[in-house]
């Protein structure tokens, strides 16, 4: 049923690479505080658009690379992203039908969950975090969702990723 139709894996791979690069890009302090969770955004998009291709396992792998890139505890982002991917796939039929702003709200919830899991893990290993500004990442992710969505949809259609 799926077989022969799969293509554009390279495009998916490339979007994740770009997301990782954007995550590592040095920014001034205010930009750092506002930095959206690029990897989570891209993962959510692919989970909604192509739930048969991108899922928990891909999320886990990408999360491992994110851990290494950001010097976090190995597995911290992996488990959080795997969880986000699971939820996104569970909800993909519903989210697909939402208008863009409503999608952005769901993305806010998903990214906030992702942040909450990493926060728990950080709390368990005794890392301190600075109050409410931590959640700005979720808010900026929500703001950028329409842009990310349109861009990735364009890429998906243009390169016929199926």
């Amino acid at each position: 049923m799926i077989g022969a139709q799969r293509q554009g894996g390279f495009t998916i791979f490339l979007t994740f690479v770009v997301a990782l690069v954007l995550t590592m890009l040095p920014l001034p302090d205010w930009g750092e505080a506002m930095r959206p969770e690029w990897v989570a955004l891209v993962l959510i998009y692919w989970c909604i658009a192509l739930p048969l291709r991108v899922g928990v396992f891909i999320g886990w792998i990408v999360g491992l690379f994110l851990d290494v890139a950001s010097g976090a505890l190995l597995g911290q982002n992996a488990i959080a992203l795997a969880f986000v991917a699971y939820l996104a796939i569970k909800l993909h039929l519903r989210i697909r039908l939402f208008p863009l702003w409503q999608q952005a709200m769901s993305v806010l919830v998903l990214v906030a969950l992702y942040q909450m899991i990493t926060l728990w893990i950080k709390g368990m290993i005794g890392a301190t975090t600075q109050g409410w500004s931590y959640w700005l990442h979720s808010v900026s992710s929500m703001m950028l969702w329409p842009v990310v969505f349109t861009l990735l949809r364009f890429l998906r259609r243009n390169y016929k990723v199926r």
Partner: protein, 288 residues
């Protein structure tokens, strides 16, 4: 998996994954190093001449100070021989460059472009021209991750340069604040005191500047004084860092004669550009 990581069984996996990440990190930092390079290439001749003159001046000053230093070093060796207390070690230094990549928010970590290929090891101290910066926490083949002394998980044993009072400097997560806890209100510490690494614990070499005390609040109703300090190293702006190998590393085995009375002038006063002598007591060598 997380628990496993605490025992550091996964370092090899991390190192392997980092091989894939390294080109990305390199690519991210490329525009920044390119900008540096272009800035150097495009600077005018007068500017270079000016800088050259300035550096020459600086070098003369340094040389003058160095003369005194070698005399002091000789004296120090003689005194230590009298005390029969410790040995000299030669420290080997390597310059590494920062990769301009951002790490996890709220932690203070940096990536440098030297790894196990250059015999970097875990726990290795990292300095810059002004003081101690931090230590290596992950070693990958071509890069490594270092934790700065301002990271909330970092602590470094220090002593007050003026009187040898021992303390611990904890990172706070803020870019230029260190916390000095557990000092009683009666402790002799003042604003402006220089804190140097005490070498206790054996991880950091002794007597490198770490921080300057900025505030001391002694509240009689609290058991301990609240002491804050500012790191002397330029943690946020340094592009080049120094990696230090001290005695345990395989790199310098040339200095084995500890008991014999070595003739003082031969004791490497500036023998190589990148090495300097420093004395490192074991745990017994606490200041009076």
């Amino acid at each position: 998996m997380v628990i496993d990581h605490r025992q550091h069984h996964l370092e090899s996996i991390r190192a392997t994954l980092s091989l894939v990440i390294y080109p990305l990190q390199y690519a991210v930092s490329l525009p920044f190093s390119a900008a540096d390079w272009a800035g150097e290439k495009l600077s005018t001749r007068e500017k270079l001449l000016e800088e050259n003159a300035q550096l020459r001046m600086q070098q003369k000053l340094m040389m003058a100070q160095l003369q005194k230093l070698s005399a002091l070093k000789v004296e120090n060796i003689r005194l230590r021989e009298l005390l029969k207390s410790s040995k000299n070690i030669t420290e080997h230094v390597l310059i590494a460059e920062l990769l301009a990549v951002d790490m996890e928010p709220f932690t203070r970590k940096i990536v440098i472009n030297k790894g196990s290929a250059d015999e970097v090891y875990r726990g290795q101290p990292l300095l810059d021209a002004e003081g101690v910066m931090g230590q290596i926490i992950h070693v990958n083949p071509f890069s490594s991750t270092a934790m700065l002394i301002t990271d909330p998980n970092h602590a470094i044993p220090v002593h007050v340069n003026r009187n040898g009072l021992r303390a611990i400097a904890l990172g706070t997560g803020a870019p230029d604040v260190l916390d000095i806890p557990y000092l009683p209100n009666s402790a002799d510490i003042e604003e402006g005191d220089l804190l140097t690494s005490s070498g206790l614990g054996g991880r950091f070499p002794r007597d490198y500047p770490v921080a300057k005390v900025t505030t001391v609040v002694k509240d009689p109703s609290k058991p301990y004084a609240v002491v804050k300090a500012k790191p002397t190293a330029l943690l946020e702006t340094s592009r080049e860092v120094l990696l230090v190998w001290s005695q345990e590393s395989p790199r310098n085995t040339d200095n084995a004669n500890t008991g014999e009375a070595q003739s003082p002038p031969a004791a490497t006063p500036g023998s190589a550009l990148d090495s300097e002598t420093n004395d490192d007591d074991t745990m017994t060598g606490v200041n009076p």
